[in-house]
Amino acid sequence: MTLRTASGTSASGASPTARRAVAVNRDRAVRIRRRLRAADLMVMLCWVSVALSVSLWLAYGGAAQVTDVASALTAGGIVSGLVGTDLILVMLVLAARLPVIDRVVGQDAAMALHRRLGKPALYLILVHGVLLTIGYALTDGSSVIAETISLFSGPDMALAYLGLALLIAVVVTSLVAVRRRFSYEAWHLVHLLSYAAVLVALPHQLSVGGVLADGTLQRVYWIGLYVLAFGSIALFRFILPTLASLRHGIRVAGIEPVAPGVVSLHLKGRQLDRLRVEGGQYAVWRFWTGSTWWHAHPISFSAVPTATSARITVRELGAGSAALGRVRVGTRVWFEGPYGVFTDAHRVAPKMAVVAAGIGITPIRSLLEHASLQPGEATVLLRATDPSQTYLWNEVAGLPSMSGNSVYTMLGARPHGLATWMSAEAIARGVTIASAFPELLSSDLYVCGPQSWADLVVRDARAHGLPDAQIHIERFDW
């Protein structure tokens, strides 16, 4: 470890500073309370939507119709179809990148929930089909196969079976083992079919069965739910990003090689300050060249944008991001964003502990640039295997907010056969997360780097007793 800058002007009885710190902490506490309340409300809304879909059936008088095995199976089928579809619509809302969801819990957490709901939703829809077929077959006294054939004969029902087939295709290709065999783009294309699956299932929901019959409040609510889900996707994934891209007219202004395989893309555009990008955030970028336009890349801002310029820094990993190093000056750039909760606004503790590895430096660099830090407030540890990976390190130490704050560096490979995020040399000297960050427990820990490495940092922090609310992690390797 080398000490880079440590001009320790420790707040020795500086009363204006102390008063300001109190005010900052009070603001922070208010923001945390508000955010937690909003997060709780969102969790509640998810559950209420599930309860509501059961309630639609209850209000229809469904419970009174359960008299024997056949009607119980039919009822189970109806309810599982309602709940399953509700969950899929919730998944769509989560994937719509609603600004309020991103601000409160972060798009990462929303997508984690989106992924967790996928399989239960599919199972419910499958159960819906199976139970209704058996239930109807029992009522009619026919075989399951005959019932399936007779169910299929309705025009809306053929669409419903198509929707089911699409849904199975989407979930199967999303399973990790299968997904590895597909390219991201192929998987994503299949994934878009889920929109079609939910849409083609709608006619049979409205025409078959009584719960959502014509002229009922249930029908109004259900259609409203569809409009909300698809409206959010259309608005926040397509319409607003397109308008913002056109309005800000971003183009590539320059390409600056940072290190072998790492480039900074300098962008220029109109009124970029109006985007209100916070340090540590990212956007999803689309470069309009023949070979890159079909692929959107999530890339962090490596500097806080000014009114006319922005900078992103990217390491060439996949075939798509390798092509980014070859885009020409003047290339038109579209974007979605900014997104992310890896920001100063999401701090909960009075101090800041920051660890970055490799290209993980990019959001850290803009985070530290944007944060208004007091001397002694932050401790930064930059980590790389060898000197070729010390991207932007020289910039970090020079940031105005870093004056009076310590930046440490840790170079060297990890020891063989030991699961650690530190270098062999640091381990040999007995460095721990607690010795690197003496004030860890009163700090927010910001971690950005390769996922397996970041997981080890978080593991150590948790073992040291740091609560999850104080751990901020940005997981990506590009």
Partner: protein
């Protein structure tokens, strides 16, 4: 804080379910007493049924053989005219057979159960499932087979109402 989210979720979901249950239960209020007592001679059922029994007596009295009884009991109002369950004849429609059963207490229809509904093909099953509760509610409200057929379920409605009429005839309503 996650405890609060959990508690809020449970409470609000329970409230939503309770409201749904309540709304669903309202359509079934009439069912409750007759389901418990198909014989329907208890005083508890007679009391709420009294106004409707009185109202239906004049129309019911005219075409049937029960006229003397109805005339005799009309002033008393709470006395029973016809009670019990009556099964209508089977109506054949191009989508299958329809047959209904009615439960009558003190001269008023308290429930209509579909014994058979049009079931040729999944579409007609679904149409029937949609139409039957609507028809049932309408019949209970009108206390006769004089109700509009459900749009999009014409055959089911016609079969339903004709089977119902034969059940009403048997009950002497």
């Amino acid at each position: 804080m996650r405890v609060r989210a959990l508690a809020a979720s449970i409470l609000s979901s329970a409230a939503v379910l309770a409201v749904g249950w309540q709304l669903g239960g309202q359509g079934q209020v009439q069912v409750a007493p007759d389901a418990a007592a198909p014989a329907a001679s208890a005083a508890t059922t007679a009391a709420p049924q009294a106004p409707s029994a009185a109202a239906s007596t004049p129309t019911a009295a005219a075409p049937t053989a029960a006229t003397p009884t109805a005339a005799a009991t009309a002033p008393v109002a709470a006395a029973p005219t016809a009670s019990g369950t009556f099964t209508g004849s089977v109506s054949r429609t191009r989508y299958g057979n329809v047959q209904v059963q009615i439960t009558v207490a003190n001269g008023s229809i308290t429930d209509v159960t579909a014994l058979q509904l049009t079931n040729d093909g999944g579409k007609s099953v679904s149409i029937s499932n949609r139409a039957a509760p609507v028809l049932r509610t309408e019949v209970l409200k009108a206390q006769s087979a004089n109700v509009q057929s459900v749009s999009g379920a014409t055959y089911t409605s016609e079969g339903y109402l004709s089977s119902l009429q034969s059940a009403l005839d048997q009950a002497g309503l």
